[in-house]
């Protein structure tokens, strides 16, 4: 068998490959050769083969078959073998590999080897990638090495100890005795790694921190070392651009920061040296600035005296004017950290920060934007907003969403006047409209509603914006909503704040219809538009017929959302025209609540009105009553009383109350034998609280067994139970309807009613066709609130069409498992 080719030879060969395929072929050939060589247990060339394997691994090819070979190399006596073996281990044998632990013994032996370089290899490997088990086994050895007088090994042991502590924090105590004399060393390597070790210990354990402060008097020691570094003359070995060992200086400063944090004595002890470093460090090169940066961070974080703090902020201010982009970036980052605590000091540099918004560098722009928003206050809002809006216009898309949100937030907090606020919002919507976050729309709508005196001005401006551009969805949504609400002000030709525009009702409807038909509009936007058109039916006297026509057309829209709205509005025109004005009345001023839930849902056959526009409380349209009547039939005439909905007093405003009364009237007129009580309507707000944004189901399954609620004529209804994770009194029932006959059941409708003390909410079904032969199911979620923990009973009504005939069935469900209502 010829000797395997040398590493350099292989590299040269592979680099001549002109295509990926050619390279792959070469690699495969070589891998095969290496594999057979491994199989032959060839000791002489193992090292070379593993080295080649590592090269191929770097190119991205699999190399796992070399793992065991690395172990063999580590166990070998030859230094060359060990070197490559340990390298291979570090590259191929991370702690996720099974054979990782086999290294432990080798490392242990090598830690006690006679040659320091072998010991060094072992310490290095352990310190880079030792697993927790390995660290536990070998911590004692590391501790031993930490006390040796050989500085070459001592520094490596210190960093291995750091790694051990990171992996197994409990072992920290073990290294404490060895740290006693670490800082007395002259060797910079040992000093540096010792500082790193002490930093790690202090960061992880408050006890250690206290110990080092009090007992070891660490601060004076560190101050002394730092002083020597600065004051001593030129030392060629550690010099970097005229500064003596910047690496050590920075680490000492960092450790001082941790020691001085929240501790007056320590902070006082380091005041002088910090001032000295801050004033004496050369700033012409990056090195000096690195030290200054760390110094500033330390000054700001400890309990430094005010003079020192001012010095620090000034350094940062100087950084901001530096030509070097890195320095400016670092300054902005630091200022962001300190803006909360030293707000006034940072304000002084506001103009420089705002200038950074115009920088070409993306990283700098982002920091400047964040900092600018942090600096906005009541005094500078106008000026800052001008700059920020200008930034919004010209910045990259990746910033626009954050910037828009920031602008809205700042405007809300510090707006000097309502008009200014509205103008600012308009500006954002028109320039960055498509990047505005979804949750901004309801917030804006609420804001506009509450600025009562600005309605005329607002709707006029929004209308003008709409005429120009209908591509930005949030803008159109807000505009449509406003036109729907305040269209009468728009056509009245009066406006207080600016020159009123003359626009006719038809022109307004043209614009809204245009949005409806445009390809650019999303479904949500179309929904807004349609509802706005509907609202205008009460505000535009002459346009009712036109609106009726539009609504009629969309009754057969493919989009289910639009279709539902149109059908309901249609019904409103046909049957409930007398109610229309009351229902479509202007929205009252809304309170800002914290819930994001949908509005109150009116019960029908389970279709909810997921109205996104009515953000907080009431739906503007009721459901047609025929379903309501059905429910009454369902409930009337027996002891299962319908649930009485009492209007929740505080949150609902008058219009909502009227709505409920109206529905109450409806039910009575439906000719129900049962006395008075209005129809079972659904949910009081508390059930809705947070429900929309919460996942419906708990991961913690309540362990409630499922049940069969109904099983007749091939139709089977299963109930599966879970507890809602927002309210333990709510049981969430998943209803699944399956059909074992050979014909499908269409127009399937599931209705339910519960006794008086319960409350029920039925969500939309997954579909209304139950496929034949159990090919699929219709799923519907039922939520039952049972605050009194009474036994759950339910009456269900099922209607469906099967084999051409329409069927209906009523059933009572009494076999609920006790866990579902207890």
């Amino acid at each position: 068998m010829p000797a395997p080719i040398r590493l350099r030879e292989l590299i040269r060969t592979i680099r001549t490959a002109r295509t990926q395929a050619e390279e792959r072929e070469m690699i495969q050939k070589e891998c095969a050769a290496i594999r057979s060589s491994f199989r032959e247990e060839d000791n002489t060339y193992r090292c070379r083969n593993v080295a080649k394997l590592l090269y191929m691994h770097m190119l991205g090819y699999p190399a796992h078959f070399g793992q065991l070979e690395c172990l063999k190399l580590i166990a070998s006596q030859k230094f060359t073998d060990k070197r490559i073996g340990y390298l291979g281990a570090m590259l191929l044998l991370d702690e996720r590999q099974d054979v990782h632990l086999l290294m432990t013994n080798c490392i242990k032996n090598d830690l006690n080897h006679s040659t320091q370089f072998v010991q060094g290899l072992a310490l290095c490997t352990l310190g880079c990638m030792g697993s927790s088990e390995m660290c536990r086994d070998l911590a004692g050895e590391v501790e031993k090495q930490l006390k040796t007088s050989n500085s070459y090994l001592r520094k490596k042991a210190a960093l291995s100890a750091v790694h051990v502590i990171r992996k197994v924090p409990e072992l920290m105590e073990m290294f404490l005795p060895a740290t006693k004399n670490l800082l007395n060393e002259k060797n910079h390597g040992v000093l540096h790694t010792s500082v790193v070790l002490l930093t790690e210990m202090c960061e992880r354990s408050p006890d250690m921190l206290a110990h080092f402060r009090k007992n070891e008097k660490l601060v004076p020691q560190l101050v002394r070392i730092l002083k020597n570094l600065i004051m001593s003359g030129y030392s060629p070995e550690h010099d970097v651009s005229g500064i003596s060992d910047p690496f050590l200086q920075v680490r000492i400063l960092r450790l001082l920061r941790i020691l001085g944090r929240n501790d007056d004595d320590s902070s006082e002890a380091m005041n002088d040296i910090l001032a000295q470093v801050a004033t004496n460090t050369e700033t012409s090169k990056n090195v000096g600035n690195a030290i200054l940066y760390e110094t500033v961070l330390t000054i700001m974080d400890i309990k430094s005296e005010s003079g020192l703090r001012v010095l620090a902020i000034n350094i940062l201010g100087r950084f901001l004017l530096n030509n070097d982009k890195n320095i400016r970036y670092v300054a902005l980052t630091s200022l962001l950290k300190t803006v909360q605590t030293d707000h006034n000091a940072v304000q002084r540099h506001r103009s420089t920060i705002v200038d950074c918004l115009k920088d070409l560098d993306v990283s700098i722009k982002r920091r400047a934007m964040e900092l600018s928003f942090a600096l906005v206050n009541g005094n500078n809002i106008r000026g800052m907003m001008k700059e920020l809006l200008y930034f919004l216009d010209s910045c990259d898309p990746e910033f626009k969403a954050d910037c828009a949100s920031g602008v809205f937030h700042a405007a809300e907090k510090y707006a000097p006047s309502k008009r200014w606020h509205i103008d600012t919002i308009m500006r954002v919507l028109t320039t960055a409209g498509s990047y505005v976050r979804d949750d901004a729309v309801p917030n804006l709508i609420q804001l506009i509603t509450n600025s009562v005196e600005m309605h005329g001005y607002t709707v006029q401006r929004l209308y003008k914006a709409l005429i120009d551009d209908i591509s930005q969805q949030p803008l159109i949504q807000v505009s449509s909503w406003c036109i729907g609400e305040y269209g009468d002000l728009l056509v009245s030709g009066k406006c207080e704040e600016e020159e009123p525009i003359q626009v006719t009702e038809d022109e307004v409807l043209d614009v809204l219809e245009g949005i409806l038909v445009s390809n650019l509009s999303s479904t949500v936007t179309r929904g807004y538009s349609l509802t706005a058109i509907m609202k205008l039916s009460t505000r535009f006297a002459s346009a009712v017929n036109r609106i009726k026509k539009i609504v009629l057309v969309y009754g057969s829209s493919i989009d289910v959302e639009l279709q539902q709205r149109a059908v309901e509005y249609n019904a409103l025109f046909k049957k409930y025209d007398h109610m229309r004005p009351a229902l479509l009345e202007r929205m009252p001023v809304m309170e800002k609540t914290s819930t994001n839930g949908p509005t109150e849902i009116v019960q029908t056959n389970g279709e909810t009105e997921p109205s996104i526009l009515e953000t907080k409380h009431m739906p503007s349209v009721p459901q047609p009553t025929n379903q309501a009547n059905d429910l009454l039939d369902l409930l009337g005439g027996n002891d299962v009383m319908p649930v009485i909905q009492t209007a929740p007093p505080t949150k609902l405003v008058s219009a909502g109350g009227e709505l409920l009364d109206l529905l109450g009237d409806l039910s009575l007129s439906g000719g129900v034998p049962a006395p008075g009580p209005p129809v079972s309507i659904s949910q009081p707000p508390f059930l809705l609280d947070g429900l929309a944004s919460q996942p419906l189901f708990n991961d913690v399954a309540a362990g409630i067994p499922p049940m069969i609620a109904y099983n007749k004529n091939g139709l089977k209804i299963d109930f599966a139970f879970e507890r809602s994770n927002t309210n333990p009194n709510i049981a969430v029932i998943t209803m699944q309807a399956s059909n074992s006959t050979e014909a499908e059941m269409t127009e399937f409708v599931f209705q339910a009613a519960v006794p008086k003390t319960f409350q029920l909410q039925l969500l939309s079904p997954s579909s209304n066709i139950v496929p034949a032969l159990n090919a699929g199911t219709v799923t519907q979620i039922i939520k039952v609130l049972n605050p009194q923990k009474q036994q759950l009973r339910m009456r269900v009504k099922l209607t469906y069409t099967h084999k051409g005939s329409s069927l209906q069935d009523l059933a009572e469900v009494n076999n609920f498992p006790p866990q579902s209502w207890q």
Partner: protein
């Protein structure tokens, strides 16, 4: 430091040192993302980037990019010095180091790195010391 990568202007990896324990698949993903992001940066921009919860510090040396993933409390400006020190060590060892040296002697590049950093931290701040150690280790090779 979580990792240090060296790659060419064409995106070919020349050295990878990981100081955290993650899966091979995850490593490849990070390498890909780093190469893409760093190579996409404009020439006159600063050497820092934000990526997930890490600060990425990178520097270009002729045809080679050095890229380090740092934690939040690490000093970015000092990281630039660390990267520079590593290149200087390579330069001293190879004499006017170029990318080819690192390609053909990648194992030596790793050995030098291991004398300079352990577990992501600097172990020796003296250039002279590190170079001497490497030389002596080389002499020990059979």
């Amino acid at each position: 430091m979580h990792f240090m990568l060296l790659f060419s202007r064409q995106g070919k990896l020349r050295l990878q040192k990981w100081f955290i324990a993650i899966e091979e698949r995850e490593k490849m993903k990070i390498i890909r993302e780093m190469t893409q992001s760093v190579l996409a940066r404009q020439p006159k921009t600063c050497n820092f980037m934000d990526w997930k919860d890490l600060k990425i510090v990178y520097k270009r040396y002729a045809s080679l990019y050095i890229c380090c993933g740092m934690e939040d409390q690490d000093n970015e400006l000092l990281t630039i010095e660390i990267m520079h020190r590593y290149i200087e060590l390579l330069d001293k060892y190879f004499g006017n180091v170029c990318e080819l040296d690192i390609i053909f002697n990648f194992e030596k590049a790793y050995f030098i790195l291991d004398e300079f950093l352990i577990g992501g931290e600097v172990q020796e701040t003296s250039k002279l010391s590190v170079s001497k150690c490497i030389e002596e280790s080389d002499l020990m090779q059979e």
